[in-house]
């Protein structure tokens, strides 16, 4: 019934109605996604955490009560109070403001690393999986070389070799991260390339480039997106680790790992300097993991239909 009425709308409706009609399947699909998403409470919690995290990053200058870099040595190491809920660090900087401003740096790190690593990963993975044979062997052996080193060690080596700055830390982590997506995309591309619909497109005379990036890619991307969300937590941890080791963001930048690193010598008596950024890291990582799980469930075709 519903279908016939919308079909009639299509036939004689305005261009706006036509536009809506054309997108109806997409809308239905999204509605179904929202329905599934509502049915998984953990994904909901994850989403709330991540949305809060992004909002804090967006409005950080408005939310931060003090200048995160301004020092006040006279009030250094002051314990949490009403005026300074997270206390003050060894230079008298407000820890709350530093954690809030830190979200901006974390978002920046995640965003850039995701884009770089997913681009390299998808290209390498899909090309390898689609062509197979020698091309696959070469690309995958290169990937294996990157995979053979422990992630953090490789990132540390890169960061140390390229001078320790935030940009170099991002480059270093990206160079390690892409391998994950390359492997995944390759596995998916191998699965997809033997599907009859890919053969059908080949039979139409489409070029390899077109098939790879307009037909194989859209079908291979869901597991990559899920993995990306799940790995965002790890990316934050790696960035924080590099910061902690002094190989990432440099003081006085309020990167969470660097803040913890700064505060570690005061851990015994002035716990608040490290505890609050630590909690921020933990909650954000948890949020990304929950969200990743949720997205995986929502995109899972077995659950969908």
């Amino acid at each position: 019934m519903k279908r016939t009425s919308s079909a009639a709308g299509y036939a004689k409706g305005s261009s706006w109605k036509k536009f809506l009609y054309e997108r109806k399947p997409m809308m239905d699909d999204m509605k179904h996604s929202v329905y599934l998403w509502k049915k998984t409470p953990l994904a909901l919690i994850g989403t709330v955490i991540i949305v809060l995290f992004l909002l804090v990053a967006l409005f950080a200058p408005l939310l931060a009560p003090y200048d995160p870099i301004a020092t006040d040595l006279s009030r250094k190491l002051e314990a949490p109070s009403a005026a300074h809920p997270f206390g003050l660090d060894q230079f008298g900087r407000d820890v709350l403001s530093r954690v809030i401003m830190g979200t901006r740096i974390e978002v920046q790190i995640i965003f850039i690393i995701s884009i770089i690593s997913i681009t390299i990963g998808l290209i390498v993975g899909i090309v390898a999986g689609y062509f197979g044979g020698v091309i696959d062997e070469i690309l995958m052996r290169i990937t294996d070389i990157f995979l053979a080193f422990p992630r953090l060690v490789l990132a540390m080596a890169f960061a140390a070799a390229l001078r320790p700055t935030l940009t170099n830390a991002i480059v270093a982590i990206s160079l390690v991260e892409w391998t994950v997506y390359a492997r995944l995309a390759r596995a998916e591309a191998i699965k997809v390339r033997s599907q009859p619909y890919i053969e059908a497109i080949r039979a139409l005379g489409a070029s390899d480039f077109k098939i790879m990036f307009f037909h194989v890619l859209p079908m291979s991307i869901s597991p990559v997106i899920v993995q990306l969300t799940m790995r965002m937590g790890t990316i934050i941890l790696t960035a924080a680790s590099l910061g902690f080791l002094g190989l990432g963001a440099q003081p006085p930048l309020p990167e969470w790992g660097a803040i913890i690193s700064d505060g570690r010598s005061y851990l015994m008596n002035n716990w608040w300097i490290t505890a609050f950024p630590g909690m921020a890291i933990a909650i954000t990582v948890l949020g990304f993991n929950l969200l990743g799980d949720g997205i995986r469930d929502i995109l899972d075709p077995r659950i969908r239909r």
């Binding site: 699909d29 619909y197 059908a200 497109i201 039979a203 005379g205 489409a206 037909h215």
Partner: protein, 331 residues
């Protein structure tokens, strides 16, 4: 004979010679590869505006043969001449442009359409590759072709999963037809469909063939479908054509024991008709280790000594009727 006279008069659209396709299989990295002889020395020609049927059990290589003809799988050896063009000599780019003239409709209507593309995109894809058309023109042609295959204009913006199996097969047919091809390989076009839907699709394919003077190569395991659609038939067994001839040659003057048993295996859909119940024993052997001599000899009811050692040749029994057997029936 009448049939053979027709054959010589009408033009040949496709001439396949000694087609071979071996797939290398390796147990592990170090082992010597074993070869699966999927298609082994098949030669035949397809006349213009006819339906060339290929029938065989699973594992007979009929699907591979269909792909090799279109160069969707590269042949190991042999040649395919399509209306004076040697397909094997085309470069990749030339082949891509040539694909407009030859299309394929495959078995599985549930997987042959990209699940993330709407019908308009699925059908318009080929148009965009082969013709420089404005988006209005693409729209127009997609609409026309949809009406032609019995779908409606408003189906343009739906995803494949919203359609039934029969409707999807119509979309696949529209996608092939929109390019105005001359030759279409139909790979089990209806085996995933219910009988009532199968009837509609087969009828439609017949009408389209007449209206657009198409040539079909129909690959199927269903002899009744072959009987309904085909003009010429090739029976395949283990990668080889064992019998080749007009439809009447195959069904009325069956020469190869395998073809005969295959026809007898089909239960007639009326209880009054007695099912001969002649059973072909055993199963199709592995295409890696093919039997010596005649490949059918381990299952053949009238096997003789010579069949075990000497491979028969595909010899002409009557004009246009070939069989690969030392002791053909009805001769």
């Amino acid at each position: 004979m009448q049939a053979s006279a027709d054959r010589e008069d009408s033009d040949i659209l496709i001439q396949a010679e000694h087609l071979k396709k071996l797939f290398a299989m390796k147990k592990n990295f170090y082992s010597r590869p074993l070869y699966v002889k999927a298609v082994d020395d098949c030669s035949f020609s397809i006349r213009k505006n006819t339906v060339f049927g290929i029938v065989g059990e699973s594992g007979s290589g009929k699907t591979t043969l269909g792909r090799v003809i279109l160069r969707l799988i590269e042949a190991t050896d042999g040649s395919v001449v399509f209306d004076d063009t040697d397909l094997m000599s085309l470069s990749n780019k030339e082949l891509r442009l040539f694909r407009r003239r030859m299309q394929i409709i495959s078995q599985d209507p549930y997987n042959s359409l990209h699940p993330r593309k709407v019908v308009k995109k699925l059908i318009g894809e080929g148009l965009q590759i082969h013709f420089q058309l404005s988006s209005q023109e693409v729209d127009e042609r997609v609409k026309n072709i949809l009406t032609l295959v019995g779908l409606r204009e408003e189906h343009m913006y739906r995803y494949p999963h919203e359609f039934s199996g029969g409707q999807r097969q119509r979309i696949a047919i529209a996608r092939a037809l929109v390019l105005k091809p001359e030759f279409i390989v139909l790979d089990e076009p209806t085996s995933a469909l219910d009988v009532s839907v199968q009837a509609i699709i087969l009828k439609m394919l017949k009408e389209l063939k007449r209206d657009f003077s198409l040539t079909y190569m129909l690959i199927t395991h269903d002899l009744a479908v072959i009987d309904y659609m085909a003009d010429d038939v090739a029976v395949m067994y283990l990668g080889q054509i064992v019998e080749l001839g007009s439809k009447d040659d195959i069904f009325l003057r069956t020469a190869h024991p395998y073809a005969s048993l295959l026809i007898d295996s089909v239960p007639p859909p009326t209880p009054s008709e007695h099912w001969s119940g002649k059973i072909l024993n055993g199963e199709i052997p592995s295409p890696i280790h093919v039997p010596s001599g005649c490949r059918f000899h381990p299952r053949c009811p009238q096997v003789q000594e010579i069949c075990r050692t000497k491979e028969p040749v595909l010899s002409e029994l009557q004009p246009g009727h070939f069989a690969k057997c030392h002791f053909p029936l009805n001769s």
